[in-house]
């Protein structure tokens, strides 16, 4: 990472004008320290979410009801690992190391999406995650494909392309249950009941309370407000629930014919902040699992380096 020229009002003004005119920023270009910092925070948290997000669904791989469902679920969880990698790589171009990011996740200073702190109690939860959680993620991520920071935008494009299969397999799974026996239908409805509100909260606090929003909009890191994206998700999902024959668990849900939008009842933000602050149903379990996986992998990482060094030494010896 080359040393950056110091911040000054002229440079800052030129940068702001460049991104405001939809200009892109690449790793070696000058950028304000705050732009770099906010991107590192956002991209690494996004990466952590992909990695932690493997756990709730990974929980069901060994118990998938058919080989078809099992290979689909394995492919999906493998995709999440890949998405984590694309994002960590994008963050690394900003001068932060993979180890630093990993450490911040493991010591709890970096956050990840709160949605993954909810448990997957039944097989229907795998469907609900694909349909609702990945559905919400796609809505969040599509605008980021046009983010001002090149490596982040490119990672997002790759991710969005792969994400659409995730949502569709989830919907198909829900459909199979919803159109199945009464017990299967009830299981699908129960999963929707538990995942609906957490999915709605995935878009973050309401516009007035979102701390990073304004500057991120100006810098073209964020392109649409939390509430705008949430509305899009609600409108889209209400119709999909109808197709499934499932009921959205919100007695206040109503269609506003003036605006053409579905309106939801009040969101329980206390629950959201409780989970963000580490007191959700699975926060401790997710972190403990991640820490164990990291520690259990130490010998593998060390062995790979030792093996590579040995191979190199052998090649050098042969050449001599």
């Amino acid at each position: 990472m080359p040393a950056r020229e110091p911040d000054c009002p002229e440079r800052r003004a030129a940068f702001d004008a460049h991104v405001a005119a939809e200009g892109k920023v690449e790793p070696r270009d000058w950028m304000p320290a705050a732009y770099q910092k906010t991107l590192i925070r956002q991209i690494s948290q996004h990466a952590h979410s992909e990695i932690i997000g493997m756990q709730p669904e990974g929980n069901w791989i060994s118990r998938a009801p058919s080989l078809r469902r099992k290979v689909i679920l394995m492919a999906k969880v493998q995709d999440e690992a890949g998405h984590g990698l694309y994002l960590y790589s994008a963050a690394e171009t900003l001068g932060v190391s993979r180890d630093e990011m990993e450490e911040k996740l493991l010591d709890g200073t970096a956050k990840y999406s709160s949605i993954f702190n909810y448990p997957t109690l039944t097989w229907a939860d795998v469907g609900a995650i694909g349909w609702l959680v990945d559905g919400a993620a796609i809505i969040n991520q599509i605008p980021i494909c046009r983010c001002s920071y090149g490596p982040y935008a490119r990672a997002m494009m790759r991710i969005c392309k792969e994400e659409s299969f995730h949502q569709r397999q989830g919907f198909e799974l829900m459909m199979a249950l919803a159109k199945g026996t009464q017990a299967q239908h009830a299981m699908a409805q129960d999963a929707l009941n538990r995942w609906w509100w957490p999915a709605v909260m995935m878009f973050g606090p309401p516009d007035g309370e979102s701390v990073h929003s304004r500057q991120n909009m100006a810098w073209r890191i964020k392109r649409k407000s939390n509430d705008e994206l949430r509305q899009k998700f609600v409108d889209m999902t209400v119709k999909q629930a109808e197709a499934l024959g499932l009921e959205i668990p919100d007695p206040d849900l109503s269609f506003n014919s003036d605006t053409g939008h579905w309106e939801i009842g009040p969101i329980d933000w206390d629950e959201f902040w409780t989970v963000v602050k580490g007191h959700g149903p699975c926060n401790r379990q997710r972190m403990a699992h991640r820490r164990n996986a990291h520690e259990d992998g130490v010998w593998v990482r060390e062995a790979a380096v030792a093996f590579a060094a040995k191979q190199r030494a052998r090649t050098t010896q042969q050449a001599a």
């Binding site: 493998q78 993979r98 990482r301």
Partner: protein, 96 residues
């Protein structure tokens, strides 16, 4: 994590099909080039995106600096005679 376990970074280039150039797809850490190639295959070509992969240690890439943009590329701006549109040719003359 100890110093020696930090795997070097590799840049990954993929040829999507015969007849096209390798294009930068992303980067990954690996203990050596062989592992980088194997991991690149797992990460970047799961949906038939590739027919050939290059992995290059990121450290070996020499890149031009953004601050030299002016001296490197501006001279081309004044050499408009390098573009075919610079030349006047009558409209009714064909195949030129």
């Amino acid at each position: 994590m100890t110093e020696k376990t930090v795997w070097p970074l590799f840049e990954v280039f993929i040829r999507s099909r015969q007849g096209l150039s390798h294009v930068h797809a992303g980067s990954l850490h690996a203990a050596d080039a062989k592992m980088a190639l194997e991991n690149a295959r797992d990460v970047f070509t799961r949906r038939g995106e590739g027919s050939s992969i290059w992995v290059v240690p990121s450290q070996t890439i020499t890149a031009s600096a953004p601050e030299n943009k002016g001296e490197l590329y501006d001279p081309a701006d004044s050499k408009i005679y390098r573009h075919p549109t610079f030349y006047d040719v009558p409209d009714d003359v064909e195949f030129i």
